[in-house]
Point group: C2
Chain length 453, copies 2
């Protein structure tokens, strides 16, 4: 019999004290005084009215943990304690191997890479060579395995679990003593946890995978690896507190509303460009959130992933001089917490670099790139964080989810489903089981037209 | 006095024998019988005529090593020998640290990650925290440092070099004995190599950075790390041989021509989706190639980076159901060279996975995803490689560069410059040197509009 943790999510405790400064955004370069297309003050006022109405509608849905909207609620102190009691059982392990795909992997991966937590392995693909390479690099005697799947029946995750279990068995490691399952309902993983008495962490049923970054599904590995779940949740509380009826004092709503309106004006792509290597996985997470939530009914802003300053030497030419169908979202980190100054050079040309903090160079490049886009009329928005720490990451992830939900509401689409992926899943299953269906037939009867030398 | 290597590039030896099968592409799902927009047979014939004319024009430019077009030429056997003699000097080192950014880093990084060569560190950003973390992980006693910059004056590269040199000095390592410079002209790095008698590898002056993946600038680290430069170049020769006057028997030209025509029909984004983790950096390289070469004059197909099968759970919903402004480029690898079968499961639901090779699952997912897009009318093209090895990677990189050059020619743009990045570079330099200019002023006088809680 599997152990269980966490009751259904309840409304977050609003009394949590917050000391750090809130995340803020600078929309100056999205205004029509700079960008074309851009926001006029009339448009902003109109959006402000719409957001007022939407917030009045979705506020109660958040409160009631309605499907999807529940993502904007936080764990209560009791739920948090239950989660930490659960993970305490594994606290002696140095490493966590997360077996999941999509939203079942990206949340915890984003948190661990942002926070620089070492020892987090993520098996989120079925590439035989890369997977075997990862397995041979893991010290399984010191690794807890977390199998994550909302449905409990994700084919890639089941496959990888079977491979990992076999690998552990061959090393004479009792996999049942160091594996836990995160799932909802009664799919295959639920039965697995019952059969082998594996600890079971319920995947919140009211949250789609891509909205689960601040739920136990993503927080459990972080707790085991020594990340501060409490601080992440305090940051998420900051995000919650910054939702209001007006875009003029709600950074998440302002970001969502302006992105949506720019989309209406032909800005069909959105490049997420953090100036911090720690946020590389965050950009992947954002891309999934934006793609799966907003890509439907012929709508959908295509998320790009870029990295400052590196991609100035890769993408900037296109952003500035290509079609005017793209916005850039800069993420500026004020304090990188690492003092690394450029030693004095002996070449006169570069005297100005002498003793310059690398952080200053990085942030100045953000400013000049931002100005460069503005000069060309390309819209951008800057998100500013004081530091990258559990608190700010909690707020950032919460804010992005709120922005995304608002975008969907403004476009009148369901941000919480992903119907278009079902066709391929059905085709795959039918082919592997030898079943003839319209999906399997049209896959196998492809009209190929090969071009060969 | 710095040592030198490699004479100006000469026409590749066309007599090189090739045994492996050529790369091929399947354009079936880009045809108007499947996709909307899609290629009609009339359109293909028209493109075929245009490509005939273009090939007749650029063939001599390749032959003469004209600026940019020279990228499609290969090193001669003599040049290859010179390169290998040069790198032989460093063959006792286990690691290479490449200090470069953009095209000065992505070429070698793509080759080393594709081929699974270990020991390649790439410092291509100025993030203080990430850089310090990398430095502390490198065993500098066993690492050769390669500073790469076409101009020899790239600010991020100079900065990182100064940091690395200081770090090595503090460890009492004679950096001059294990550092070489790759540059052209007489910029700062050239003077550095003179002053300290560092070996100098000329960066080919006729090739822009993003087209340098098959030049000594990218091949040198690969040779030191034990990669087969000869096989890479044989593959590139395959690519060269597959350029012809007809798209019907030239995969690179067919890919470039169809992408360009789809762009004309509103397909403003192109998602590169390899089904191999080894090709993750390749997708970054492709993104730079496509962005900087084609993003100008209001033209430019936005490259996205996706990874199969993982991003089926992240991007597919958008690709299939969003705006019809996107094509997908699948890369299928026939043989992953790793036998990893899924062990028999004890759950009946998944009996069909029993003993299935992970490779088969991965490739079947590619096929079903491809069919899923076709079913929705979304255009895609499949590139097929037998394996990932030096030969196939050489051919793939050559083919992508040829495709890109053809795309630029069809659109009537200069694929080899990147004028739009200059504004930001000037602004950065002016700000750091305290100079007042229109660039520095407009950066510093930003009209901010902050949204805060």
């Amino acid at each position: 019999m599997a152990s269980e943790v966490a009751s259904p999510r309840t409304k977050a405790d609003l009394s949590t004290s917050v000391t750090e400064e809130y995340m803020r955004i600078d929309i100056g370069n999205s205004l029509d005084t700079v960008a074309s297309p851009g926001m006029s003050s009339d448009t902003l006022d109109s959006l402000d009215h719409q957001v007022d109405a939407i917030h009045t509608t979705i506020g109660p849905k958040i409160h009631d943990n309605s499907f999807g909207y529940a993502a904007l609620n936080q764990l209560s102190p009791e739920e948090t304690k239950q989660l930490l009691d659960f993970t305490e059982h594994f606290s002696d392990f140095s490493n966590v191997l997360t077996i999941g795909i999509g939203g079942s992997a990206l949340g915890s991966a984003t948190l661990s890479t942002s926070l620089g937590l070492s020892g987090h392995y993520v098996l989120d693909n079925i590439d035989p060579s890369a997977n075997l390479n990862m397995l041979t690099n893991i010290d399984f005697t010191d690794t807890v395995v977390n199998i994550v799947s909302l449905s409990g029946s994700t084919i890639e995750t089941i496959s990888n679990f079977l491979v990992v279990r076999d690998y552990m068995n061959k090393q004479n490691i009792d996999w049942t003593s160091q594996t836990f399952v995160t799932t909802s309902g009664n799919g295959t993983l639920y039965h697995l946890s019952n059969k082998y008495d594996l600890p079971l962490l319920p995947f919140p049923e009211s949250i789609p995978g891509r909205f689960s970054a601040l739920s136990p599904a993503s927080l459990a590995p972080i707790a085991i690896l020594g990340g501060s779940v409490e601080e992440i949740l305090k940051g998420a509380q900051n995000g919650f507190d910054s939702l209001s009826t007006s875009i003029y004092n709600s950074p998440p709503y302002a970001y969502g509303a302006i992105s949506s309106e720019l989309f209406n004006l032909g800005i069909t792509s959105n490049s997420i460009m953090p100036y911090s290597e720690h946020l590389e996985t965050f950009a992947e997470w954002f891309a999934q959130l934006w793609s799966e939530s907003l890509g439907k009914d012929g709508i959908g802003q295509i998320p790009l992933r870029a990295m400052g300053a590196t991609d100035q030497h890769s993408q900037l030419q296109l952003y500035r001089a290509g079609k005017r169908n793209l916005m850039v979202t800069f993420i500026d980190v004020v304090d990188h917490k690492t003092e690394l100054n450029i030693p004095p050079p002996e070449f006169e040309d570069f005297d100005y670099l002498s003793n310059l903090p690398l952080e200053t160079l990085l942030r100045t490049e953000l400013q000049t790139t931002e100005a460069s886009l503005a000069e060309a009329g390309c819209p951008s928005i800057r998100i500013e964080l004081d530091q990258i720490n559990p608190h700010s990451i909690g707020e950032l992830l919460h804010g992005c989810m709120a922005s995304c939900i608002l975008f969907a509401e403004l476009q009148g689409i369901n941000g919480f489903d992903q119907p278009a992926v079902e066709w391929g899943k059905q085709a795959l299953k039918d082919i592997l089981t030898g079943k003839t269906s319209s999906e399997s037939s049209s896959t196998q009867n492809k009209n190929s037209h090969w071009i060969k030398k």
